[in-house]
Amino acid sequence: MNITFKIQAQAPGNNVDYIGQVEHVFDLHLHQDNWTAPMRSARNEAEFFFAVLYWTYKTFISSQDIDSCVFYPSCSTYMIESIHKHGVLYGFLDGIDRLSRCSPFANNHYPIDFKHKKYYDPVQ
């Protein structure tokens, strides 16, 4: 189910309709991803612990918030993917670094993912 809030706005003095431009601003933070997948693919207890944290964050916190991450994939998904790919210590530090890079100043260094309208920064 995809729920969207739409805003109807008109600039004063003209009849230009801005619906299309602001349609997705308040999209609910609904993902198609399977948040339990990292728990099932965890290779050790530490990875499983982070996978549980990820699921908890996605289910109870992130889902209640707007989609504010400037990157695709989002910082939490990036961290859990990095942990799975490179191990717990490397992945954790990589995720923390990504979290500090996630700001309005992140520009010119990343390609743009036009589908998600975000900077594209996958785990490498």
């Binding site: 954790f92 530090l93 670094d97 500090s100 890079r101 700001s103």
Partner: protein, 305 residues
């Protein structure tokens, strides 16, 4: 009763005559049709239309038309049919491999190439070039260089290709020396590659060690060094605020301060994450310089060779 039987004989006889007439006319049609098939050189208009559009020549023309118009998946099927009809047709085999290259299905192109032309050394130059290109597309540059040294390409082409492959292998120093050694090569592509090498050798790379050290001294300084100024500011704020909060907690409640320990953990995580990130940013900066150089060479391999 007698009258009825006489009538039936009459009608049966009439029906028999009619049937015989039909059969005769049918025979004549069949024989006429046979004569058309058996005598293709006769000049009747109906016979001119009789042509085999699926013969080898027409199939090949059609496959080439599909290839030229960019309908590669259909062209591949048609080329395969042509090869089935004439297994000796090496040009069509070349085109089938080329079709799979256009479809970006390099494993399949390689598989067909190896199946069609297992002996590299005995191949004509055109096919050897295709083999080297396939190795370039699958990023097997080492293998491509080995094949190139064994190939029958003329010396000018060989030098150009070798320089290109050295760039793709990121052997910058060796490529620079090679370019200077064969600078008399008249091929403009060779000099284009040479410029790429010189530009790369003149580019300023960043030291990952220095970036990490700077971030260890002042959080964010490593990112200033790697020219990520926004990231530097955020890293400094994230680390600084957390450490300051930890300091406040510890100075208020001492070593048992929960507030202090939470923010100290967060501060330490951001501090270490920032050192890690600065090293990564320096590596990424260098990677981007390399990628910009190799991208140009890859484009030449895609569109010129």
């Amino acid at each position: 009763m007698i009258r009825f039987s006489k009538l039936s004989v009459f009608f049966t006889g009439f029906f028999g005559l009619w049937l015989q007439a039909q059969q005769t006319s049918g025979d004549s049609l069949t024989s006429k049709h046979d004569s058309i098939i058996r005598n293709p050189s006769s000049n009747k208009p109906a016979e001119k239309k009789a042509q085999d559009i699926f013969n080898l020549q027409n199939s090949k023309k059609f496959a080439q038309y599909l290839f030229k118009t960019g309908q590669y998946s259909y062209a591949a099927e048609e080329f395969q049919r042509v090869i089935f009809l004439n297994p000796q047709d090496n040009d069509t085999k070349y085109q089938l491999v080329e079709t799979y290259i256009q479809l970006h299905n390099i494993p399949k192109a390689e598989s067909y190439f190896n199946q069609f032309f297992p002996l590299f050394d005995t191949l004509p130059v055109k096919f050897q070039k295709q083999s080297v290109r396939l190795d370039v597309y699958s990023e097997n540059y080492e293998k491509a260089i080995k094949k190139l040294t064994r190939s029958k390409l003329d010396s000018i082409d060989k030098q150009t290709w070798y320089l290109g492959l050295s760039i793709l292998e990121k052997r910058w120093k060796e490529a620079g020396e090679y370019y200077q050694a064969h600078v008399s090569n008249p091929d403009p592509v060779y000099h284009q590659f040479g410029n790429v090498v010189l530009r790369r050798l003149g580019a300023k790379t960043k030291s990952p060690f220095l970036a990490g050290t700077l971030s260890a001294v002042v959080p964010g300084l490593g990112k200033v060094y790697t020219e990520n100024y926004g990231d530097a500011l955020m890293a400094f704020l994230f680390t600084g605020i957390n450490i300051w909060q930890a300091y406040r907690g510890f100075s208020k409640d001492g070593i048992k301060s929960v507030h202090g320990w939470i923010f100290a953990s967060l501060g330490a995580a951001f501090y270490l994450g920032n050192i890690f990130g600065s090293v990564k940013a320096a590596k990424r900066h260098n990677q981007k310089i390399d990628d910009d150089a190799t991208q140009e060479v890859k484009a030449v391999f895609d569109y010129r060779f």
